[in-house]
């Protein structure tokens, strides 16, 4: 299940993605929507698609940042009342209030959401005091959820980091605690090491993330949604994830707390095409244009409803390749690669994932060879695929699947 990771500039993209059937729902962002707009958006999406999976990311983890770029978040009482928290402000009573305010808001105001998502803070180490605070908040969320009348199912937020995920021992202990929670599932975010987009993740950390998803979803039968996961969603679905998410900006395709810190500025993002066969997003120019000129464009197109714009040449179609269309095509590509790894037994899913990696590597190799000689930037080259394969092998060993 692919969800839209919603951010600034929502427009009609979520409606259109739902209409096209490439996304199943959306994770909305209070930072990027005022209260009224958020409530209205959920109501409209619910009305237009009764089956859409809708939830918000409460973004409570922003409360621990100094002078954050928090957008509309101060309009939300559950955030405004608690912004600027330090480690000493998480007594049991305080935690109860943070969690209660946030869940009450969703339960009483956001009719139409499919899940209540608990607030949480970010931690960098499964054995540090912040991780204990995170567990305390998770337990408080379960307790508070139990006091609500006819509540929507609860997803407990877990906001950790790529650094934390390098420790298998710390993760195993943390999973022992998480798997004792009486929640319906989890909403997991992983703060990436780099704020610039990387399709690759440290293979060890990726294997541990897959293991986390597997233990929670496949072994313990929780629903597990991993936000901001983009192409990595393929590996996470293969490990048992219920849903993954991606948005239209690079900052909505991988999670980094920099999204909530003062911006350093930056130019307009260059146009890209998300290719399911390559499982990456090459630049329209020069990469996709070079592929077109080499007569290999059909090898990399996904088959989205919008591909026609580029069939006559990416450079020629660039003006019509708008951001909303690029987003819809991106979701189509993700949707297509998630399909073979979203059902069936985990070993079979992993085999499908490995096959897709093999095919993508093979395609990259053909494109790089004569007579095409396509050069890719590091970000869009095949480098991520070897790391994914390594992660699958490590995960299989850990999980015994």
């Amino acid at each position: 299940m692919l969800l839209a990771q919603v951010g600034y500039g929502r427009g009609q993209k979520v409606h259109e993605g739902l209409d096209e059937g490439t996304i199943t729902g959306a994770i909305l962002s209070p930072k990027d929507e005022g209260r009224d707009r958020l409530e209205q958006c959920i109501a409209e999406l619910r009305e237009s698609d009764g089956n859409a999976v809708l939830m918000i990311d409460p973004q409570f983890y922003v409360t621990t940042l100094n002078t954050p770029r928090d957008g509309h978040l101060p309009e939300y009482d559950y955030y405004a009342a608690h912004a600027g928290l330090s480690r000493t402000q998480f007594s049991p009573r305080q935690i109860e209030r943070y969690v209660g305010d946030c869940l009450n808001y969703q339960h009483t105001t956001l009719s139409g959401v499919s899940y209540l998502v608990s607030p949480n803070i970010m931690f960098d180490d499964f054995r540090d005091s912040w991780s204990q605070i995170a567990l305390n908040m998770a337990e408080a969320a379960v307790d508070h959820h139990g006091t609500l009348t006819n509540p929507e199912p609860l997803l407990v937020s877990i906001v950790t980091s790529e650094v934390a995920l390098r420790s298998a021992t710390g993760l195993a202990e943390f999973l022992d605690a998480l798997s004792s929670l009486e929640a319906n599932g989890f909403y997991v975010l992983v703060h990436r090491n780099s704020s610039s987009y990387q399709a690759a993740m440290d293979p060890n950390a990726m294997a541990n993330l897959m293991y986390m998803v597997h233990v929670l979803a496949s072994v313990n039968d929780y629903q597990v949604f991993v936000g901001y996961s983009d192409w990595l969603g393929m590996l996470l679905h293969a490990a048992g994830a219920s849903g993954t998410a991606s948005g239209w900006h690079q900052s909505l395709r991988q999670f980094n707390m920099a999204r909530f810190m003062p911006a350093e500025g930056g130019g307009r993002a260059r146009k890209r095409y998300s290719s399911a066969p390559l499982m990456s997003s090459p630049l329209l120019e020069p990469e996709l244009e070079d592929i077109f000129r080499a007569g290999r464009i059909n090898d990399v197109l996904t088959g989205s409803a919008h591909d026609g714009i580029l069939r006559g040449g990416p450079a020629a179609g660039a003006n019509r390749w708008t951001d909303p269309i690029a987003c819809l095509a991106h979701w189509t590509s993700l949707h297509n690669i998630l399909a073979p790894v979203s059902t069936g037994r985990i070993p079979n899913r992993l085999a499908s994932a490995t096959q897709m990696i093999d095919r993508a590597e093979s395609l990259y190799a053909r494109l790089a060879a004569r007579p095409s000689f396509i050069n890719f930037e590091a970000q869009t080259g095949p480098g991520h695929l070897a790391g994914w394969r390594e992660a699958i092998i490590a995960f299989r060993a850990m999980a015994g699947v």
């Binding site: 054995r127 202990e173 022992d176 605690a177 998480l178 798997s179 004792s180 233990v215 072994v219």
Partner: protein, 306 residues
């Protein structure tokens, strides 16, 4: 100093409501008699609130790291647990509640519990042979799981699930005995130290490097897994070539035993998988809900029944 064997008259002097008193069994710190109270059969347990080291090195014996106060506290807890936790698969308290008595020079505490008409499943263990049919194993799993569930509903962990603490009634049902080591999450006065029987310990029961100290009903599930494994195969999963309890405990932490169906062809693979999952080193890899285990058990036999 071993427990003396009291006469029926000595016992009736301190428990006048008891009649037809007969010696049944003796343990490290207790002696047990059968009796009749108001026409119903019960057992009377006498405990000496003064711990003594084990007389032998029986690896099946429970760890004795208790203080004088702990013996009484444990008896109180055992009685309270039997009163609170109502399951057909947990032994029930009798009419004699905890009381202090003196027999000769011995200061003792005593209480009564139901007399289970049946046999301890420990007697079914046979070297390298199944002690039960797969259907009986499933039934054992279901009944003990229910007992563990009822305890957990009261925030309690048994901590000493083993063949020696489970009886099969004449009706065929199983019943869990001896709640002297029950750990109550809500009682901070009771230590999480290593109590129970080492060769049935879960890895986390002896792991104090884990800062989170996760000990919940899944620890009992591990001990149930060891019990089921033994009865399915006639082999303890972690003893192997171990000579001491310490070596067994090391194996419990590190050794992955062969799946039961590879040792005994008659064990269905689905049931074997369940037992192996119960023996997972981490609680997160076992069952997070008893009903998940019970569902899996019910579905593990080809005919689906128990």
């Amino acid at each position: 100093m071993p427990f003396p064997q009291f006469t029926g008259d000595e016992i009736r002097a301190v428990v006048p409501e008891a009649s037809d008193v007969k010696y049944l069994d003796k343990g490290g710190q207790k002696v047990v008699y059968s009796c009749s109270i108001a026409g119903q059969p019960y057992v009377l347990k006498f405990l000496r609130p003064n711990p003594r080291p084990l007389a032998d090195q029986d690896p099946d014996a429970s760890v004795q790291q208790v203080s004088l106060d702990d013996v009484t506290a444990r008896a109180r807890r055992e009685v309270a647990t039997m009163k609170q936790c109502d399951s057909p698969y947990l032994v029930k308290i009798g009419p004699v509640e905890l009381r202090s008595v003196k027999i000769g020079d011995e200061d003792l505490i005593c209480f009564s519990e139901e007399l289970v008409n049946g046999q301890p499943i420990k007697k079914l263990l046979k070297p390298n042979q199944p002690g039960m049919t797969p259907a009986e194993l499933v039934k054992l799993g279901l009944h003990v799981a229910d007992a563990i569930d009822v305890l957990w509903q009261h925030d309690k962990i048994h901590r000493d699930i083993k063949p020696g603490n489970i009886m099969q009634r004449a009706t065929g049902d199983f019943v869990v005995l001896d709640m002297g080591f029950v750990f109550d999450l809500n009682d901070e006065s009771w230590s999480m130290g290593p109590v129970g029987t080492p060769i049935y310990f879960s890895p986390e029961q002896m792991d104090f490097s884990n800062r989170r100290q996760i000990l919940d009903f899944r620890s009992d599930l591990f001990s149930l897994g060891v019990t089921l494994y033994q009865l399915a195969t006639g082999v303890h999963p972690f003893i192997g070539g171990a000579q001491t309890s310490w070596e067994v405990m090391t194996n419990i932490k590190n050794v992955q035993p062969p799946a039961p169906h590879t040792l005994q062809a008659g064990i269905p693979e689905a049931l074997s998988d369940i037992i192996m999952r119960l023996l997972a080193k981490r609680p997160a890899l076992r069952y997070r809900k008893i009903e998940m285990l019970q569902k899996a058990l019910r579905e593990s036999l080809p005919e689906g029944g128990n």
